[in-house]
């Protein structure tokens, strides 16, 4: 029991200056990935602000630098250490899946990384492995840098995209707020007008109120329309500025089998109306497929709302139509038997 209490206390106490968290609640502990000995911030400032100095723990004596100190994330120092090692290894072995032809090769690569991390963090020949890693880094510096560049470019793109999205949202909010204010003003004005009219006009009061309501309704629907237009305009803008980046990726469908899907289709689709308005209009295009059931389905609101689209449906049918047309069962099965 006492041990537990002691440990609890020692966890909250700097082993160098013996300051307690209980007495100075905003003290922070830092560690250095050289030796992972824990000490408080003020100790670090005191000991290392004049330059590199040995670790004050008895029997350690490793030379530490102030800029390498960092906050501890995990309670368990073993984990903390492993994560640091992993970071280091991954910064050297930074190939991605797309750099491999086969998934199995990529898996092997990942396995190799895991073994390395484990070896360095807990193996006997950690030192050798570290030297090897450094050597590898030296030899492949150019490739590693290249891959790093690629990665950062990608994350850059992502960041930019998110930035633009955020800006778009802000703008939309601004406009909406402005509109709300206008609306408020409008209702106030209308009220006043109504009072004036009631006072002076010869018309029936019910009629007057009806008139006003109609006006308000009209305005509301107009508002809605304007808002919608604005939104679609903004989204368009965003899309055009980012579409170029998106279209670059090849659109090969995923296959659970080894190898890529053959994208050469056995058929050519006729033009199929894509947007909903023309579909709803239902005038069958003479250049497209003509089938009464199909056009009927294409107009079904429930289907459309659920995401059903004519061209995907047709595409699916066509894919299934030619699936296995070239398989001559007679021939292929008799071969597989012999």
């Amino acid at each position: 029991m006492t041990e537990v209490i002691l440990e609890d206390r020692s966890r909250d106490m700097c082993p160098i200056c013996k300051t307690d968290k209980y007495l100075s609640p905003n003290m922070n502990f830092l560690i250095n990935p050289e030796c992972y000995h824990k000490m408080c911030e003020s100790c670090v400032d005191r000991i290392f602000s004049l330059g590199p100095a040995p670790c004050p723990y008895p029997g350690c004596g490793k030379i530490l630098r102030k800029n390498r100190f960092k906050q501890q994330v995990f309670d368990d120092l073993q984990i903390e250490r492993e994560i640091d090692i992993r970071k280091k290894v991954l910064s050297v072995h930074n190939k991605l899946q797309e750099d491999f032809d086969l998934i199995s090769e990529h898996n092997k690569y990942l396995e190799m990384i895991e073994n390395l991390v484990y070896g360095i963090s807990s193996g006997d020949n950690a030192h050798d492995l570290e030297i090897e890693l450094a050597k590898f880094e030296q030899e492949n510096k150019v490739q590693i840098l290249e891959r790093n560049m690629r990665e950062s470019e990608r994350s850059n793109d992502m960041a930019k995209f998110q930035d633009a999205m955020e800006r778009l949202r802000q703008e939309k909010l601004k406009i909406e707020r402005k509109m709300e204010l206008e609306d408020e003003e409008f209702t106030k004005q209308q009220k006043q007008e109504l009072l004036n009219k009631l006072a002076h006009s010869s018309l029936n009061s019910d009629e007057l109120i009806q008139q006003q309501m109609n006006q308000a309704l009209k305005r509301k629907s107009q508002r809605k329309k304007i808002l919608q237009e604005l939104q679609s305009e903004m989204e368009d803008k965003l899309r055009t500025s980012f579409s170029s980046a998106k279209e670059e990726a090849p659109k090969t469908p995923f296959t659970p089998f080894k190898g890529d899907r053959d994208l050469h289709k056995l058929y050519r689709l006729l033009p199929i109306p894509m947007d909903i308005d023309t579909l709803m209009a239902g005038n069958s295009d003479p250049d497209s497929y003509s089938d009464a059931n199909l056009t009927l389905l294409a107009k079904n609101k429930e289907y459309l709302a659920a995401g059903w689209r004519l061209h995907t449906a047709v595409e699916r049918v066509m894919d299934e139509t030619f699936m296995g047309l070239g398989c001559i069962v007679d021939k292929e099965k008799s071969i597989s038997i012999h």
Partner: protein
């Protein structure tokens, strides 16, 4: 870049036909004609063996209790004369009779064609593994239909299902359900020719009517008519026969159209195989000349930097290749039609006779008792 060497190594490449080759329908349930016959025969043989064992048990029991009678009539009570299994032909006829029954039952429930076809496929697959001498087809039929209805989104609760069927308890069906699934090896997805047929209806339009009509008397209405007739053809011939085990769904769909209107279908196939693909390949080659980097996997096309003359040479060999491809397809289709139409109907009387025989092989005790009763009454 020499990073992963991804540009040098080619990935293997999966065509739409290869996708079909990976399906269980192709891998487990497609046979050549002779292999299919053999499988059926084997099922019959196994069934005979099981039935004989069943009879033998019964026979020995009764022999213990009716020793005198057995000694009195060694001729009539000989095991070999008593044992009368269904022959292979009888079994096939019997199954055919029940296949027709699936259609009437499904129609009775107003089920979609898809359900019908799936149930039919399950039923046939079940009797490729088992024999009617092991499981009586009546309840297997109901079980297959119930299972197919569930799988094709036409769910009926077991209570309401059994209420309509004569003399059937939920237990009869539910007990068999797992046995059926086991025999199907849990492969439940069945590709039917109906969707390809619809696809061909659309593609016929694309090929024959656009950009301008190819044949003076073919228009959308005519194709629609052809489509409807072909659908009927599939319902009449394809579902009930075993073509689903020997041909792929698009081939069967084309067979239906070919049998209804040979002229139009042939024109379509010619256009498709002898002209269109050639065009597509030519286009690809042009593209290829433009950019050397592009990787194409077709064997015929890895002579990149060859001269134009050689390319045309290549085209000629391609043309012959296309022609053989076209001819194989037509041959397959014609064969499919022949097999689909070869199926003969089983008359009611015939099936009743077989049914009696089947009943006795399934319940040897009843038959034996009947026989013994008859003989013992004759002696008195």
């Amino acid at each position: 870049m020499s990073l992963g060497g991804s540009e040098t190594a080619k990935k293997p490449y999966v065509s739409i036909d290869d996708l079909y080759r990976k399906s269980t329908q192709f891998q487990m349930w497609s046979f050549t004609k002779s292999a299919l016959e053999e499988t059926k025969k084997k099922a019959n043989e196994n069934g005979t063996k099981v039935a004989k064992q069943r009879l033998l048990n019964e026979y020995n029991n009764l022999k213990e209790s009716n020793r005198t009678l057995f000694e009195q009539y060694p001729q009539e009570l000989n095991i070999d004369t008593i044992f009368d299994p269904l022959t292979f032909e009888e079994e096939q006829k019997y199954l055919h009779f029940y296949c027709e029954k699936i259609i009437t039952t499904a129609d009775f429930f107003n089920m979609a064609t898809q359900v019908k076809a799936t149930a039919m496929s399950f039923f046939k697959k079940f009797y490729l593994v088992n024999s009617v001498m092991e499981y009586h087809p009546k309840n297997i039929l109901y079980t297959c239909l119930f299972l197919a209805a569930k799988l094709e989104y036409y769910f009926i609760s077991i209570e309401s299902y059994c209420k309509i069927l004569p003399k059937t308890e939920p237990k009869d069906i539910l007990d068999l359900e797992f046995i059926v699934l086991l025999s199907l090896k849990f492969t439940l997805l069945v590709y039917h020719p109906f969707r390809p047929l619809y696809g061909f209806f659309l593609d016929f339009q694309a090929v024959l009517l656009h950009p301008s009509p190819l044949m003076y008397d073919v228009n959308v209405d005519k194709l629609g008519h052809l489509y409807n007739q072909a659908k009927e053809w599939l319902n009449k011939y394809a579902i009930i026969s075993y073509v689903g085990f020997m041909f792929t769904p698009p081939q069967i769909a084309l067979a239906a159209m070919y049998d209804i209107d040979k002229r139009i279908t042939n024109k379509y196939l010619q256009r498709k195989y002898l002209r269109e693909q050639l065009d597509a390949i030519k286009e690809e080659q042009d593209e290829k000349k433009g950019q050397d980097e592009q990787k194409h996997q077709d064997e015929q096309k890895h002579q990149d930097e060859q001269k134009d003359e050689e390319v045309t040479d290549d085209n000629q060999s391609l043309e012959s290749q296309q022609r053989t491809q076209y001819e194989t397809i037509v041959r397959t289709i014609v064969k499919c039609i022949r097999i689909a139409k070869a199926e003969t109907q089983t008359s009611l009387q015939e099936s009743k006779d077989i049914d009696r025989k089947c009943f006795f092989t399934l319940n040897p005790a009843k038959m034996m008792n009947k026989k013994i009763k008859k003989l013992s009454s004759g002696t008195e």
